[in-house]
């Protein structure tokens, strides 16, 4: 597909307008540069459904971003804002003539307010940067399994599922103020930013809480403008000021102080047992991390080479030992005494729920090299290693118990679609959030990265979604975004209506990443 359908004169006119706004070096239309902005790890590029953008622009700050958005409106050209640009499903252009608004020149941490526990950040600040600065001050923020090199703002705007969600909730609930260039070029400041653009301590108001506009099932995907500044909550952290890490890549280990942090991996006979345990831990209001990982996660995050991955898999090292296991990390937030208290409570819960710890040798193999990725992730991108990519189906966001049913029906599909789905041992990921008040599930599995295998699978998954809809199954969006999401999100969430309403009000020219969200043109 061509990356533009306008004539050269029009192209030059737009180029000139961008260059006037940002300076020549901050605007590119060169094919070699465009080539780096359209995917890929999930299917779009592999399936030939994405196209290079026509321009990439690098604005610095809110005013320059506003200038770009206004130019986009003037010429009616679609734009897509990107952070680290990892989520190619929604950030790779799939229509000609798109402008990528790359936030690389917006990488400042404006402020870390220790007393009030929040940070004010720009879109390219990585989660690892924010972690490092927060940790120095005894504060903390989570990271999604996209790894901590991804953008903290994008992470807060996106799914927001992170390791410590059990304790601190999903990322988007941690957003305080937002400075935001709306698709029509107006600037909106929410929370206390609205009173003082330098002050981000308070999230709500004035008036209705507009942060909701940035949310969809998985964020607004750049569909409602560009966030140029965000205030995010930070949380107390009892760990060392510098992240502990020993050894060399790819075998580094990370061990947090034993008098304040612990990891237990507790196994149950079935998924119900595991989820029951998660409820009990939530009810007791203990622990910081509470995750039921699928077997593939143990191997994905741990293996340090393809050979090690598949050899370990063939030996069933993890399959035989971690099925229906829950990882739980206790933190002594306030004191060693509190930590000891939580340990005793956890012990009681394990006993009462009939849990068993996984074998010591598996624990020792896995925990030092891998567990702390759920506190600060560095190995998440290993997910693509075994076969070039992975996919998911059935992503429920509801109660923990609801997740059981959804991921379980997911197994049937996984079996039905294997191959092309590769060996994955019932890949159910269920994370507990807000002390078990809600749960998120995902059914992740490896697929070989070939256009044939992926094309085949995408069609099957689309068929599955349609079948689900016909059967009145209202939960478990999948797989990720694109066609199936479009097919489902409207019916399930009425998100199409909501988004159309929002778009009508703030995006009259439909320029803000239109095609990736719910189709709104019709």
């Amino acid at each position: 597909m061509k990356n533009r359908d306008r004539n050269n004169e029009q192209h030059q006119q737009i180029l000139g307008a961008f260059q006037t706004a940002l300076g020549q070096e901050n605007v590119s239309d060169g094919p070699a540069t465009m080539n780096a902005y359209f995917g890929d790890w999930l299917p779009p590029k592999t399936l030939g459904t994405s196209v290079p953008p026509e321009f990439v622009v690098l604005p610095n700050g809110t005013m320059e971003t506003q200038a770009i958005v206004k130019i986009c409106n003037r010429f009616k050209i679609p734009f897509i804002p990107v952070g680290s640009n990892q989520w190619s499903l929604s950030s790779a252009p799939n229509r000609p003539g798109t402008v990528i608004i790359d936030c690389k020149r917006m990488g400042e941490i404006h402020e870390i307010d220790e007393k009030n526990m929040f940070a004010v950040i720009e879109p390219l600040v990585s989660l690892a940067q924010l972690h490092a600065e927060a940790n120095k001050r005894g504060l903390y923020i989570g990271s999604p399994e996209a790894s901590a090199q991804s953008s903290a703002v994008a992470g807060h705007l996106f799914q927001g599922m992170w390791g410590v969600g059990h304790r601190i909730g999903v990322a988007y609930r941690n957003i305080l103020g937002i400075e935001w260039v709306l698709p029509n070029g107006e600037i909106l400041r929410t929370g206390s930013f609205s009173q003082d653009p330098a002050c981000g301590f308070w999230g709500e108001g004035p008036g209705p809480d507009l942060r909701g506009m940035l949310r969809g099932y998985a964020g607004a995907l750049g569909g409602v403008g560009v966030v140029t500044k965000m205030a995010v909550k930070l949380h107390p952290y009892p760990g060392p000021r510098t992240w502990p890490c020993e050894g060399h890549i790819p075998n580094q280990v990370s061990i947090l102080p034993e008098d304040r942090f612990s990891w237990d991996i507790v196994k149950y006979d079935d998924l119900e047992g595991a989820i029951n345990f998660m409820y009990e831990v939530g009810r007791a209001e203990i622990a910081a991390v509470l995750q039921k990982w699928p077997t593939v996660y143990y191997a994905w995050w741990w293996a340090n080479s393809n050979e090690q991955y598949w050899e370990t898999w063939k030996k069933r090292t993890f399959q035989d030992n971690v099925k229906n296991a829950v990882g739980v990390s206790l933190w002594g937030f306030t004191s060693k005494k509190q930590f000891e208290y939580e340990k005793r409570v956890l012990e009681d819960i394990i006993e009462e729920t009939g849990g068993k710890r996984i074998p010591r040798e598996i624990y020792d193999l896995w925990v030092p090299r891998t567990a702390n990725n759920w506190i600060r992730d560095t190995n998440g991108s290993r997910m693509m290693r075994p076969s070039g990519t992975f996919l998911a189906l059935r992503l429920p966001t509801d109660t923990l118990r609801n997740s059981i049913g959804v991921v379980r029906t997911g197994y049937e599909w996984v079996n039905k679609f294997s191959p092309p789905i590769l060996d994955s041992d019932g890949p159910d990921w269920i994370g507990g959030y807000d002390f078990g008040h809600f749960g998120f599930g995902e059914t992740d599995f490896p697929v070989e990265k070939t256009p044939e295998d992926l094309g085949d699978l995408m069609n099957k998954l689309l068929g599955m979604t349609k079948e689900d809809l016909q059967n009145g199954i209202e939960n478990g969006i999948g797989p990720f975004l694109g066609g199936t999401y479009h097919a489902m999100a409207g019916k399930v969430f009425k998100y199409d209506k909501l988004l159309k309403g929002i778009k009508k009000a703030i995006d009259p020219n439909l320029v803000s990443n239109p095609p990736h969200n719910i189709p709104v043109e019709d």
């Binding site: 070699a32 540069t33 080539n35 080479s305 050979e307 598949w310 030996k315």
Partner: protein, 431 residues
């Protein structure tokens, strides 16, 4: 535990085991590029190692030029598009910059190896050589290329000048391996050997070796360039010519150990020569590795207390690029030895920068950037010097003529002063 025969495994066996052996050809380049997941790991210091927001980046090229095309990920996208014919080599003059601004420091390569089995630096070398096949060496690299072809060194110097540095050590017992035998060859390298500014370092090293009665020899006028500069700048025929000649010469002389003070020579002799079919009958050590053994045995007799605080800059080619790649194996390099030596010098306090070992920030001097993209090389060096200053150190110590030259060039014109000193020059000050 049983092996399940029914398992559904990837059909492409390269997913089962990365093919690290064999020449790095177009197929391997495509494999590396195709499996890039655009995760951005190659742009940042490994997340577990990030200690501050200020020093969180790993890639000088991407940090400076910002577009994703100018990063490891972007070069994967470029390789894939060029190989698959989606882009043509002459479609965009920026291709030259994307490929050659990069300092070939391997920061991206090391971080990438944390999450997948791949060899980015080899892919860059392949891309550069394909570029050179089509357009010839970069004009900025032409002098160096001509010099290598004409004189077997990169500095347009007559062969006879190679021996100049030993003149002041005449009669002290350095063997000429063209006439005498020794198990140990001291390989000076073009840059230390031919630069008036830098040759003092190798004189100092030779003095330390002689003082400790180490039996070693040199090749004098017969020493050839190791082949590092042509290897990094895409002139692979010259690299091969030099590598084959060198291996044959070392084998013929019966040398068992080669010690070199130059990080660039070290990485090339130790790692890149593995690509040459000619069998190597010798081991390669950096002088720091060799002298560390003497320090451990307390054989070095220091006489003076220096009373200084220093920081150590890890040269890329003796660090993360100083070992052959074995998927899954630690990215080891010569990290501890120079630090041990520094700690052994009386009155030297070593303070570390934030980005060290395999996640060190480059000096800007490598990959032909120093000659090809001077301003960028200088900017990269200044970033490093700023990091060094933040440690409170009075000087930055390293052991690579390229790093020293680049860091000194970067320091020129900076308001705050930060001296760059060679490890062995510092050592000699305390003897």
């Amino acid at each position: 535990m049983t092996e399940n025969k029914e398992m559904l495994l990837p059909k492409d066996t390269r997913y089962l085991k990365y093919p690290a052996d064999g020449p790095f050809d177009q197929e391997k380049a495509r494999w590396t590029a195709f499996n890039c997941s655009r995760c951005s790991v190659c742009k940042w210091v490994d997340s577990w190692r990030v200690k501050s927001a200020k020093y969180a980046r790993i890639c000088p090229q991407h940090t400076k030029y910002l577009y994703d095309s100018h990063s490891g990920q972007g070069k994967c996208d470029l390789a894939l598009a060029l190989i698959d014919g989606k882009l043509q080599w002459d479609d965009d003059p920026e291709i030259k910059n994307i490929l050659f601004q990069c300092t070939m420091c391997g920061g991206c390569d090391a971080m990438d190896k944390g999450i997948r089995d791949a060899e980015l630096i080899k892919m860059y070398r392949w891309l550069r050589s394909e570029y050179v096949k089509r357009f010839g060496p970069l004009p900025e690299h032409k002098t160096m290329t001509d010099s290598i072809r004409e004189y077997d060194n990169v500095w347009l110097q007559p062969r006879l000048k190679r021996n100049n540095w030993v003149k002041e050590l005449k009669g002290m017992g350095i063997k000429d391996l063209n006439r005498e035998k020794s198990d140990i060859l001291f390989f000076a390298g073009c840059t230390y050997g031919l630069s008036d500014e830098l040759k003092g370092t190798i004189v100092n090293i030779a003095r330390i070796l002689l003082k400790n009665n180490i039996d070693f020899g040199i090749l004098g006028n017969k020493e050839l360039c190791c082949g590092s500069p042509p290897s990094k700048t895409g002139i692979l025929d010259e690299f091969e010519r030099l590598a084959v000649s060198n291996i044959k010469q070392f084998n013929a002389l019966g040398v068992k150990t080669i010690i070199t003070p130059c990080a660039g020579c070290y990485g090339t002799l130790r790692v890149e020569y593995d690509e040459i079919e000619e069998k190597k009958n010798f081991e390669v050590l950096h002088v720091a590795e060799y002298l560390d053994r003497l320090c451990q045995d307390k054989k070095i007799n220091y006489k003076k207390e220096l009373g200084i605080t220093v920081t150590w800059h890890d040269p890329c080619h003796m660090g993360r690029l100083g070992r052959p790649y074995v998927p899954g194996r630690d990215l080891e390099g010569v990290y501890e030895e120079p630090r041990n030596i520094l700690k052994s010098i009386p009155g030297v306090e070593l303070v570390e920068m934030e980005r060290i070992r395999e996640y060190a920030w480059c000096c800007g001097g490598g990959g032909g950037a120093f000659t090809g993209f001077k301003d960028f090389a200088r900017w990269t060096a200044r970033e490093r010097l700023a990091e060094a200053m933040d440690t409170g150190a009075e000087m930055v110590v390293t052991s690579c003529p390229w790093c020293e030259t680049s860091l000194r060039a970067g320091a020129a014109g900076m308001n705050e002063k930060m001296e760059t000193v060679d490890l062995f020059d510092l050592m000699v000050k305390a003897l």
